[in-house]
Symmetry: none
């Protein structure tokens, strides 16, 4: 949601240009500030940004995106497991990657061909391959002596063959896990090549999903649940797998979101309705909308503004349907995504906090600059959760 | 440049009292804040302050001033070496220090008498003695098992004999290096005593430079170059040795500055001209003016204001001659030096940031208090470099 000033918007940011009366109302009635998601100037990936907003210092606890992605897909990932995210992709007869997304195929059609995978050289390793959304998938390896310190097979652009997965440190565990992964990718390639869906695609001149690319090998973050830290229950209202995964590792219930797509076509008000329904059953709800980020990565100013206005409608629903005498609401972004650069940037994000006991300040609008003069000053992402829990009276005293 | 409010200036700081339209223009068009050079309330030395502004946490990487001073004098200082800064000084016949600066002698006249120094007990130790500006000098020791954890021979004021250099920890390396240094200072004392320049001075009733005092033993800071961290090239436009040394350890090219003196008589516009000439060859230029600090240490209000106005002329030249569509400019101070206390203080310094994508705020003047209400809030010195590199798109994403 956060961005930089744009010439196209007469020097305003998309947030400043959007019509967002509900967000402004929260800023006006609440206490505002700006927040460096992980540290000043440092652009965060969505994985570490969401861990930080949940109160976990990613510089301490982060161990790769793959495990978050797999947890978010509903897979079981335990300490000792290694998980990846990946894509179905298309290689040509020479083995060169010609489509990193296999024509944005719906990978779930291949599910039955990717079960009961046994690796000939490593029969003791348990493999789970789970197609998620469109061409995306998650993989979990379970076995002894696995390491998440291994590289990607995804060459990340260019017409090149997929890369061999390499260890990222000199441990025998990393070397072994790289070998296991390379063998797995070979087995999956054979399975996909043989499967009738792909053979039909080839006959029809379509791009077969004939290879799987993996990236972001990871282990689950080493963190304690929010319940353990603050004695609160948490629910996640999000569709994006990595956001769900971060919430899952914090011990939250992951709720189904009818109408939620994880894209710009998501039904934001439907998300607010889910919150309205479940708010009495949980102490804390993490509500995430991905669409503004998608629009930013596409460089689509108009769409980003439209998404902000859809978020505003969602927030209006919350304001109208939650009991504001006993509810705290924090409105923020997990990172700045620059429309101009089409990528994440390390600029701070705006934050507005509404609730019965906040120190209301003079800020009257929600935006990157308006919030900067607010009473919260400039904080870090990891500060947000203790600040919220403090309002609930749930932060244990330090000292005595 | 930064200071505290002064009664003599009707409660204004020197920055607030000075006429500085160019600095104000940057504040007006840019984004402002205040910055604790190292940490709130903690007065930094110039060495650690400049390391922090270059993005290096001095609480982690700093290992004494001497190595920075020697690097800044153009000497070769490697890991394992120990370097000092020092003064030519005068002792009387009883060995008591009577002038810490030997009448502010130009030490370079002694250069030939200070070469090929061999220590009788430590012939394997290589010694370089390099007179720098006025009575100042730098010394580098190279050898095995040296430690920078040793004290000063400079008694820092009072009519006392020079101190014996003592180890600052219990390691045999510190003990050995203290002994080596004491022997070196004895050898240098003999050489200076014997040299005809000093004999002539004694005959003329002038103070001979008959001893060398050392202080600030140091090893080079353990840091990675800016190129390694962010992929950018850097240039240093400064005369002050410790500023040059900090830039040198960050991997910058140290440029000659015609007209630069490191004092209040420096030609600030000449410095801006150097920047103008080289800006296209470097990604980052560190431009430092020392004179405001000198004026502060002397308690000279008028001179400090004049220096600020000279800095303003320099900034005007930059505004007029740089391509502001593609250049970011940060204006700040490496520390607060109090005119009243005549020393460094731990107050925050003002910061103004101009550039194509900054979030312009409502600040209209450059000063300690005006900047405090700006959009950058309150940051630390080590945050500045990532914030700048973020605007260049050069900070690596953390996470994925």
């Amino acid at each position: 949601m956060a961005d930089r000033p744009l010439r196209e918007l007469d020097g305003k940011t998309p947030l400043e240009a959007a019509n967002k009366p509900a967000l402004d109302e929260i800023a006006h009635l609440g206490e505002c500030g700006i927040m460096d998601p992980i540290s000043p100037g440092r652009p965060p990936g969505s994985d570490v940004a969401n861990l930080a907003l949940l109160g976990y210092d990613p510089f301490v606890c982060y161990r790769g995106r793959g495990a978050l992605e797999a947890l978010g897909a509903g897979l079981d990932v335990q300490e000792g497991d290694v998980a990846f995210r990946g894509n179905f992709a298309t290689i040509d007869q020479k083995g060169v990657l010609v489509d990193r997304r296999a024509g944005r195929v719906d990978g779930r059609v291949f599910k039955e061909y990717l079960t009961d995978v046994i690796l000939p050289s490593y029969p003791e390793v348990q493999v789970t391959v789970c197609p998620t959304v469109e061409h995306r998938l998650a993989i979990v390896l379970k076995g002894k002596g696995l390491s998440w310190r291994i590289g990607d097979s995804d060459p990340h652009g260019g017409e090149a063959p997929p890369k061999k997965v390499e260890p990222l440190d000199r441990s025998p565990e990393a070397k072994g896990t790289a070998e296991i992964t390379n063998e797995l990718l070979q087995v999956l390639k054979e399975r996909l090549g043989d499967c009738p869906i792909n053979q039909r695609k080839v006959e029809q001149g379509l791009k077969p999903a004939n290879i799987i690319l993996v990236r972001g090998a990871g282990a689950p973050p080493q963190i304690e649940s929010l319940r353990k830290l603050y004695g609160v229950s948490g629910a996640c209202v999000a569709v994006n797998a990595v956001v769900r995964g971060a919430c899952c590792s914090a011990g939250f219930d992951i709720l189904e979101v009818p109408g939620g797509t994880g894209g710009v076509d998501t039904d934001t008000v439907a998300k607010a309705r889910v919150v309205e329904e479940i708010i009495r059953r949980y102490d804390f709800v993490y509500l995430h909308v991905k669409g503004t980020d998608n629009a930013s990565h596409d460089g689509n100013i108009e769409l980003k503004i439209k998404m902000i206005e859809k978020i505003d409608a969602m927030v209006r629903h919350l304001l109208d349907h939650l009991n504001l005498d006993e509810t705290y609401i924090a409105i923020t972004a997990d990172h700045t995504t620059s429309l101009r650069q089409r990528d994440h940037r390390g600029d701070p994000v705006p934050l507005a906090l509404l609730g019965p006991e906040v120190r209301r300040d003079n800020v009257t609008a929600y935006g990157e600059r308006a919030c900067a003069s607010g009473g919260l000053g400039r904080i870090r992402g990891v500060n947000l959760m203790p600040i919220l829990m403090n309002f609930l009276g749930n932060v244990p005293l330090y000292g005595s």
